[in-house]
Each structure stands twice: as structure tokens, then as C-alpha cells.
């Protein structure tokens, strides 16, 4: 009896410590980011930092608006290109895919999720950059468009996976109800099943946004990385992640802290995205039956 109690207690403590480890890591990261980043923002000037259009560390000018816009544009581009493809893929897998090729398609998409981002980057650098260069006849193929297309490919498995799962959780009775009204298979799918899975689909898209905005390696390899205000689809851009990674190696003093402050901004972006996902999930639970 007594030994049972001790064993229970020991297990509880072990589980508790394991749970604490990840929480502890998150807290540590937050403390590190904010402790190092906030003072720099104060020193540079909060609005000067966020809304400054020039990034010239050698002259102690630290405006990260070009990078914020760079991240937003690239992400928006990737979502605009990637979401329609991902949605149609998920709908195909859930409702139109012949059983024989389903496994093949599904494992292909799962494999995509497992490819390291540097490999994607390499693919983009070797194949897409020259292609964009020759198609548009421009000086360099490292552009916002290249990055957006590459990220659109990279985000497919995330959105396809979440969307397919939410489509499959829609009750079959909706499908039968639509058929019984004389709707065709595709009408039932597009006008009943897909709208019913709406909140799950939106969750997938928002998760995808989070994945894209945090992507670093592949973006650096194809985006050009000029720290200037983005001029258009066919000009180079630098994202926040790229900004940090490119200069971290040699930065010191205020420059280094400004990079950490860039990380703070990125962190806040991700935080907002996670809050949206949480809110959507809560809404989905309340609506679903």
C-alpha cells in the first residue's frame, strides 16, 4: 500500500518535470527575446524601428519596415498561390481519388512535409531562380515571386493535411442528404461538404501562414535578400527571418540587439497566428455536432 503510494508520487513528479521542461523552454525563450529586444527598441525608438524604411547598421539606422513588408508580401504570395492548390488537392484526396492511387498520393504529400527546407531552397536556387530569370528576362531570378512560389510548394502538406482531416470529419449524412435532393457528387462535395468543413479549412490556412512566415533557409536561398523596401513581385526582398540569420554572425552591440528585436516582432506575429488558430478551433467545437 505504502510502496504503491510512493510509486504513484514518483511517477507524478517525473511527468510533471517532463511537462515543465517544454514550458520552461518557452518561458526562457520569451525572457531572452524580450530582455534583449525591448531595450533596443527603446533605444532606437519604437516607431522608428517598426516603421523606419532604412536598414543601415553601419550608420546605426535600424528600420525594419522593409523586412516586415517583405515577410508579409512573401507570405501573402505563398498563400494566394498555395491555398487554391492545397484545397483542391485535399478535396481530390477526400472525395475524388481512386482507392488505388490514394496511398501513393498521400505518402507523396507526407514525404513533402519531411523534406528539409534547405533541400527546397536548393531546388529553388538551382531550378526556379534561373527559370524566373529567363521567363521574365530580368537581371536576377532571386525575387519575391520565386520565394512565394517556393513557399507555396512547401506549405502544401500542412494545408492539405489539415483540410483533408476536416473534410473527412464532416458527417456522411450531409453527403447523403445532398444526393437525396438530386445533387451530383461534385455538387454535394462543393456546396455541402466543403462549406461544412469551413472552420477546419481556415485553421489549416492559418497554420500554413505560420509555417510560411517562420521559414528561413529556403527563403534566403531564393529571395535576393536586399534590405530595401520591396518594389514589386520581380524585385528581391528580405524577410524578417532572413534579416536575423544573415547578420547574426557578425553583429554586435545595438546591431545585435536590433536583430533580436526583429525576432521579437516575428514572435508577436506567430503569437497572433496561434491565437487565431485557437479561437477558430474553439469556434469549430461549438458549431460542430
Amino acid at each position: 500500500m505504502k510502496s504503491n503510494y510512493i510509486r504513484e508520487t514518483v511517477m507524478k513528479v517525473i511527468f510533471f518535470i517532463a511537462a515543465c521542461a517544454s514550458i520552461f523552454a518557452v518561458i526562457l525563450i520569451c525572457v531572452f527575446l524580450f530582455a534583449n529586444g525591448i531595450p533596443a527598441m527603446g533605444e532606437i525608438g519604437f516607431f522608428k524601428f517598426l516603421l523606419g524604411t532604412e536598414w543601415r547598421p553601419s550608420n546605426d539606422i535600424y528600420g525594419i519596415l522593409p523586412m516586415i513588408l517583405g515577410s508579409i508580401y512573401v507570405t501573402a504570395g505563398a498563400i494566394v498561390i498555395g491555398v487554391p492548390i492545397a484545397l483542391l488537392t485535399a478535396i481530390f484526396l477526400a472525395y475524388f481519388c481512386p482507392k488505388k492511387i490514394y496511398k501513393f498520393c498521400k505518402s507523396g504529400i507526407n514525404l513533402m512535409a519531411g523534406i528539409p527546407s534547405v533541400v527546397y531552397g536548393f531546388f529553388g536556387l538551382v531550378l526556379m531562380v534561373p527559370m524566373i530569370k529567363s521567363i521574365f528576362n530580368i537581371r536576377s531570378g532571386s525575387t519575391m515571386l520565386t520565394a512565394a512560389i517556393l513557399l507555396a510548394i512547401m506549405v502544401l502538406p500542412t494545408i492539405v493535411g489539415v483540410t483533408e482531416a476536416s473534410l473527412e470529419s464532416v458527417p456522411q449524412s450531409y453527403y447523403e442528404g445532398a444526393l437525396a435532393l438530386g445533387a451530383t457528387h461534385s455538387q454535394s462535395v462543393f456546396f455541402t461538404m466543403v462549406p461544412a468543413a469551413k472552420s477546419g479549412i481556415v485553421t489549416g490556412v492559418v497554420l500554413g501562414i505560420g509555417r510560411v512566415i517562420g521559414e528561413t533557409m529556403a527563403v534566403i536561398m531564393v529571395a535576393g535578400n536586399q534590405a530595401v523596401m520591396p518594389e514589386g513581385l520581380l524585385s528581391g526582398v528580405r524577410t524578417m527571418t532572413a534579416n536575423i540569420v544573415l547578420e547574426m554572425g557578425y553583429a554586435s552591440g545595438l546591431h545585435r540587439e536590433a536583430l533580436i528585436a526583429t525576432g521579437v516582432v516575428l514572435f508577436v506575429f506567430i503569437l497572433i497566428i496561434n491565437l487565431i488558430v485557437a479561437a477558430l478551433k474553439k469556434g469549430a467545437i461549438q458549431h460542430g455536432d
Binding site: 449524412s173 450531409y174 442528404g177 445532398a178 444526393l179 437525396a180 451530383t184 455538387q187 455541402t192 462549406p195
Partner: protein
């Protein structure tokens, strides 16, 4: 006048012989009830009448089922048009997760009605026909999932009526409902008989006795007896029918 005729029909699910040589004629603007213990094939037969069984893998049908003399399993038959003509209400109410209005308008929109005034008119008429208009007219734009189970079932009936079917199939439409909702649906079925041919599967023998003109009794995939409801419940011809309706098994 027979609306639906079933001739020498056999149905297999893979190796399982689910319906054995069924012959049955269902009259126009009548209520026909299928009764029998669970697993006797009555729902299977019902789902064959609008080819919802096509969705079941391994389902094979021999024999002939005709709607107005036209073989519905003929290659030339347009299944979607068939299902528009032969509507269906399911055991568990299955309103779509959209507004009450959109639920009713779903069918007409599917079949190409876009005009707002026309849709408004169809929605009101269908809801009135299903005797639910007064309960929902003030919240047509609210989610259909927010109304009670009995209301949802009448909404599903209204949704089926909105595509102007000729036949309405009901698969145990009251088995998930309380007694008051059940009696509303029964009254509704009797009312709808004026305009529609109704086929209803029910576990509840009193329900068949209350509303059906004709009743068919099924057992283990065979149709044992078919005839006027009154006669079947007062003087059944087959001893097995008598055993079932007097509650000796089932």
C-alpha cells in the same frame, strides 16, 4: 394507379442475399408502410427506390423497379433526376450546417433556380407544407442546427419537398423523436398524401396502423405479406405476420 412497381427483385450485399424475390406495387398518392424486425431488409428496399444503395459497395440488384413504368435501374436513367423525383427523409435528421433558408433553397439552387423572389416563394411554400413555417419564419437566417430534433426532421421534409418530388421516402423518420414530434410528423404525412406518394419504413406498428393505406411485412429478406393496412392488422393471412404484429417476436 401504381406509382412504383417492384418485380422479382433480388438484392445482394456481396454474398449476403438481403432481399429475396420481392414483388410489390405502391399506389399513387397513398402511404405504403414497410414493417418488420431489424435486419429484415425493409430499409434496404426503401433505399433501392431512389438508388441510394448505389453508394454501398458490393450492392447488386436483379429484377425490375419501375417509376411510372420506367425502369429506374436502366442504363439510360439519370440518377440525379431520379432522386429529384423521389425524395428521401432519413432516420436521423440531417439538416446541413447552414441557415434554415439555405437548407430549403439548397435543392432548388442545385437544380438551377437563382431568382431570389422565386427562391423566397419556394422556401415559404415548402416550410408551410411541412407545417413548420410559423415556428421558424422569424429565424430563417439562423443556423438549422439550432432548432429541436423534431423541428429539424420537419425541416428535412421541407427540404425534400422544395425540389417538388413525386414520391417521398421516409426511413424511420420518427425513431429519434419524442412522442409529440412524432405525432406532428404523422399528421404531416397524412396531409402530404394528398399531393405525394409516400413510402415509410417504421419500427412502430401503431404508426403503420395509424397512417398507412397499405402495409408490407418483411422477414429475413422476404416480403411475407402485403395488403390493406386495416386488413393486415385485423386479419393477417400469414401466421408469421400475426406473430409479429401481436408482439410474439421482433
Amino acid at each position: 394507379m401504381d406509382k412504383i412497381t417492384v418485380e422479382n427483385m433480388n438484392l445482394h450485399y456481396g454474398d449476403f442475399h438481403a432481399l429475396k424475390n420481392v414483388n410489390l406495387n405502391m399506389g399513387e398518392k397513398e402511404i405504403t408502410a414497410f414493417i418488420g424486425p431489424s435486419g429484415c431488409g425493409k430499409s434496404t428496399l426503401l433505399k433501392s427506390l431512389n438508388r441510394m444503395n448505389d453508394l454501398v459497395p458490393g450492392c447488386k440488384i436483379d429484377g425490375k423497379i419501375c417509376l411510372d413504368g420506367e425502369d429506374i435501374y436502366d442504363k439510360k436513367m439519370d440518377v440525379n433526376r431520379l432522386r429529384k423525383r423521389v425524395g428521401m427523409v432519413f432516420q436521423k435528421p440531417n439538416p446541413f450546417p447552414m441557415s434554415i433558408y439555405d437548407n430549403i433553397a439548397y435543392g432548388p439552387r442545385t437544380h438551377g433556380v437563382r431568382n431570389k423572389a422565386k427562391l423566397d416563394e419556394i422556401v415559404e411554400r415548402s416550410l408551410r407544407q411541412a407545417a413548420i413555417w410559423d415556428e421558424v419564419k422569424d429565424r430563417l437566417k439562423k443556423s438549422a442546427l439550432g432548432i429541436s430534433g423534431g423541428q429539424q426532421q420537419r425541416l428535412c421534409i421541407a427540404r425534400a419537398l422544395a425540389v417538388e418530388p413525386e414520391v417521398l421516402l421516409m426511413d424511420e423518420p420518427t425513431s429519434a423523436l419524442d412522442p409529440i414530434s412524432t405525432s406532428k410528423i404523422e399528421d404531416l404525412a397524412i396531409e402530404l398524401k394528398k399531393d405525394y406518394t409516400i413510402v415509410i419504413v417504421t419500427h412502430n406498428m401503431q404508426q403503420a396502423a395509424r397512417i398507412a393505406d397499405k402495409t408490407a411485412f418483411f422477414l429475413l429478406g422476404q416480403m411475407i405479406e402485403y395488403g390493406n393496412t386495416e386488413k393486415m392488422f385485423s386479419m393477417p393471412e400469414d401466421p408469421r405476420t400475426e406473430d409479429y404484429i401481436t408482439g410474439r417476436f421482433g
